[in-house]
Amino acid sequence: VPLHSHFKRAFIRPHLRLIRLVGVIVPRRLRADWRQEWEAELRCREALLAEWDRLGWRNKLDLLWRSSSAFWDALWLQPKRLEDEMFQDLRFGLRLLRTHKGLTAVAVLSLALGIGANTAIFSLADALLWRNLPAADNDRLYTAMRGNGGGFSYRNCLDYYDRSRVLEGMALYSQENLAFGHGEKSEVVLAESITGNFFEVLGVPMAQGRAFASDEDRTPHPVVVVSYDFWQQRFGGDPQLVGKMLMFNNQSFTVIGVTVPGFVGASVPWRAEVWVPMAMRSGPELNERNGQQFSAVAKLRAGVSREQAEAELETINRQLQQSYPEPDWFNEDGGGKHGRQVSLVPAQGIPSQIVRRWASLGTGLASSVACLVLLIACANVANLLLARGAARNREIAIRLAVGAGRLRLIRQLLTESLLLALAGGIAGVLLAHWINQLLMSLHPPLPPPWELKADLRLDGRALVYTLLLSLLTGVIFGLVPAWAATKPALLSALKGESRSSGGRQRFALRSLLVVTQVALSLVLLVSAGLFIRSLQQLQAVSPGYETRNRLVMDLDIGSLGYNEERGRIFHQQLLERLANVTGISAVATADFIPLGWRGGGNLITVEGDQGDAGQPKMTDGQRVDSRYFEAMGIPILRGRAFTAADTAASERVAIVNQTLARRRWSNIKDIGEVIGKRIRIGDQTAPWSVIVGVAADGKYMSLSGPQHEGWWVPIMQSPTGLFQMVVRTTAESPDIASAIRREVAALDPNLPFQNMVSLKERVSLYLWPARMGAGLVAALGGLGLLLAALGLYGVMSYAVVQRTREIGIRMALGAQARNVLGAVIGDGMRLTLAGIVIGLAGAWAITRFLASMLYGVSARDPLTFAGVPLVLATVALLACYLPARKATKVDPLDALRRD
C-alpha cells in the first residue's frame, strides 16, 4: 500500500485526528516528536488489532480512549512552553531594562507615581466605602435607614423587630463621648451606646468575658464592654479586668467583656473604645417616637433578599407612621410629606450616609485625578518606548528578516513593557505606603476622641488591584509602541537609514501622545486652578465674628450627673474664677459655639399674621450668656445684648440676626423695627419671647452656603447640661490654656476637658475639604505638567535628531540660528497648542462635575481658563527651547556627511 494513502486515511480515523488536534497546544519545539510518538503507538496498536475497518466498535472506542489521554500528556508539557518562550522573553527583557538604566528609571518612576497614587486612593476608598465590618455573615448585614440617611428611634426599632419576619436581628447604636475617669484625671473616650443584641447581630465574639444579654438594654444596667485596644493600652491586657469597676461619667460600670482584636465598632471611620447599654442614657429620648438619632444595623434571615426585606420593613414603617404620626417639619429635609421610606444598604464602610457622600465625593475626585496622572504617565512611557523602538529598528528588522513572526516580536516587546509596568507597580506599592501615611496625617483637624482613624491597609485586595492596574497599564502603554516597532520598512532599516517611512509614522504617533499628555494635564491644571480659586474665596469669607485670640472648649457637666441647680452654681463659679486669670479679657458660655461639630435649632413662629414667612420653621439658634456677644465679637446692630438681669424669673427675651429680621418681617424699612415684636421658639406650647436686639449675620453651620436665619436666647432662661465656653484672650499662649485647665480641675477634677481649640482652628476644619481638594489636585496637576513637559522635550529632541540632515542643509544654504530655533520651537508649540485646544474643550466639559465642590467661583471661571493655558504654554516653550538650541548647534558639514 502506498504510504500517502495511509496518511490520507490517518485523517479520517478519529483517534489520529484527535492527536493532530491536541498537538496544536504542544510547544512547537516538541510538537513533531510528540505527534509521531502518539501516532506510532496508536497505529501499531491498530495493526495489532487488525485493520481499522474490520475493528469492532469496542476496539475503536478503546483506541479513541487511549488517544484522549494524549490530551493530559499535552497539558503536562505546557510548562515547557513557558520555560522556552516566556523565560526567554523575560530574560531578554530584564537584560534590556538593565542596560537602558536611564529609560528604565524614568519609566518606572513615572509609572510608580501613577500606580502608587491609584493604589493609595484605592486603599482609602476601600477603608471608607467598601470594606465589610469585621463581623460574621457579612452578606446578610445591612445598614437600615429612613429617608435620606436618617436613623430610628428606640421605640420604633423594637416594633420593627417584633413585627418583622425577615429580620434575624436589628441593633441600634449611637456614638457618644464618655468621660473616663482614672485616678485624678479624666479623659474623653468614644463610646457606642448600643442595644443589647448589638454584638449578637454583628456576630462579634468576645476575647474575654461576655457580651450584653439582649435584655440588658431594657432597664439600666451599669455594665460595659471595652475594645481589645482599650484593654491592652490602658490596662496592659490585665487578665483580671473583667469583673472590675471602671468610672465613666462619674458612675461606676462593671466590665463584662473585651471584644476580639480589630473590632472598633460600627461607626467607621471612627473607632469606638467602649460599649454601654442604651438604657444607660439619661433623658427622655429612649421613649420618643419621632427621634432619628440612632443608627441601625439589620441582619436578614438566611435566604431573604434585600428587596423582600425592604418591602416588609416599609409596610411596618407605614403602620408605625399611622399609629404615631410625625410632625410635618420632621420630614421637611429628606422624606417629604409622606414620611421617610425605609431602605437597606450593605453594611460596608461608613454607615452614615452624609459622611459617606462626602467620602465618596472626595475619593471619587481623588481617583479621577490619579487616573488622569496614570494616563499621562502611560503616554510618557509609551513615548519613551517608541523612541527606543526607533533605536532598535535594525535589531527588529533583522529578526523579522530571518523569519521571526510579528506576533512573536510583539509578545517579546509586550513582555518588556509588562516587566516595566510590574516594576512600576512594585515601586508604586512602596510609594502607596508612603502616600497612605501622608493621607493619614492629613486627616481633618477634629478634636479627640473624634479624630478620623481610617484603617488604610495595603492588603490582598489592594495588592490585587495594583497588580491588575499594572498589567493593564503595561498593555496600554506597550501595545502601540510594540505594534509600531514591528512594522519597520525592512529594506531601509537593514541599510541603517533612519529616515524611513516607519520613522515618520512613529513621529506622528509620538506627537499624538504628546498632544494627549498636554490635553490631560491641562484638564488637571484647570481643575487645580478652580479649586485654588475656590479656596481663596472661602478663606476670604468673614464668619461674622472674631476668630483671633479666642479659645473654645466643651464642658459636658450633664453627663456627670449635674442637676440644673448644681450646673448653675458650677457655671457661676467657673466664670468668676476665669475672670481673675491674667490674659483673659472675656468669658462666655453657650450651648454651642458656631462652626463646631454640633448645632442647635428650633422651630420659630412669628407673632401676628406674616403670611408664609410667619409659619413655624426650623431655624439655627443658640442659648448664650450675657457676655457672649462681647466675647465672640459679634456686633449688636440695634437694641441691646443680654444682661445679667435676663434671668429665669424675668421676661423671656431673644435676639435675632439681620437675615431673620428681614425675611420674617418683609414690610419693615429698618431692622430696628423688629425690636419689641414677639417670636415663639419651640412648639405651640412654648412661651413667646420679646426681641430685644438685632445682631450681625454670621456663619453658624458651614462657611460656604447661603446666610442662615439665626436667634439667641439667654442660657439662664433655658439651662442646658452640655455647654461650650468661649474665652477671649489678649494673646494666644499655651499658658492661658493650662490656666483654664487648672481652674476647671479645681472646681471638678472629674470633668474631662473636651476639645480645647482656638476658634481659628475650628474655622480651619471647615476650610479643610477645600484645602485638601486644592492641594491634592494642584500636586497631581503639577506632576502631570512635569510629565507632559518631559514628553514634549523627548519628542522634540527626537525630531531634532531625525532632522539633523535637513537642518544641516538649511544651514549650509544660509539659514540663521534663529530660523532653526523658530522652526523647532514652532513645531513644538503647534503640538502644545493642539493639546491646549483639546484640553480646554475637555476641561469645559468636565469641570461642571466639579461645580458642587466649588465655592464662590464658577466652574467655567474665565480667569482660570485663560491663565492655566498660559502657564502650560510657558512650560512647553521651555521644553521646546532646549532641543531647539541643540538644533542650532548642528554643524552643517557634519550633518551632510551622515548617512
Binding site: 495511509h6 506510532a40 503507538e41 487511549r66 494524549a70 503536562w76 508539557l77
Partner: protein, 108 residues
C-alpha cells in the same frame, strides 16, 4: 523532579520499563495505569535522567507501515532509583505481612 523518593506509580512504570516493556502503550497495558498518568510520568522520568528515549529503526516501521515508535530505556540513575524504590516498597510489604502474622494467633 528532584532526587526524592519515587511515587508508587512512578516506580511501577520504571519497573515495567526495566522488565522490557519499552513502549508507552505496552506500559499502560502491563501496569493498568491510565495514559494520562503514564505519559506525564515518562516525561518527568526522562527529564530527571532516569529514562532515555530513542526512536526505533525506520526499517522496522516501514514494514508495518507506520511512523517509527519511540521507546524508553533505563539509565544507570534510573536503575539505582528503581532498586532503592523496590527495596523500600519491599520493606513496606514485609511490615504488612509481619503484622498479619502477628495478628493471626489472636484470631485463632
Amino acid at each position: 523532579m528532584g532526587k526524592g523518593f519515587l511515587t508508587y506509580s512512578t516506580a511501577v512504570i520504571l519497573q515495567a520499563v526495566s522488565n522490557g516493556y519499552l513502549y508507552g502503550f505496552d506500559i499502560i497495558d502491563i501496569t493498568g495505569l491510565p495514559g494520562g498518568t503514564v505519559y506525564p510520568a515518562l516525561r518527568r522520568l526522562e527529564d530527571a535522567g532516569y529514562l532515555r528515549s530513542k526512536w526505533e529503526e525506520p526499517h522496522i516501521a516501514q514494514t508495518e507501515p507506520r511512523p517509527p515508535r519511540k521507546y524508553y530505556e533505563l539509565t544507570r540513575e534510573g536503575r539505582d532509583a528503581l532498586a532503592e524504590a523496590v527495596k523500600r516498597y519491599r520493606q513496606l510489604e514485609q511490615t504488612q505481612t509481619k503484622k498479619e502474622r502477628e495478628r493471626k494467633p489472636s484470631r485463632a
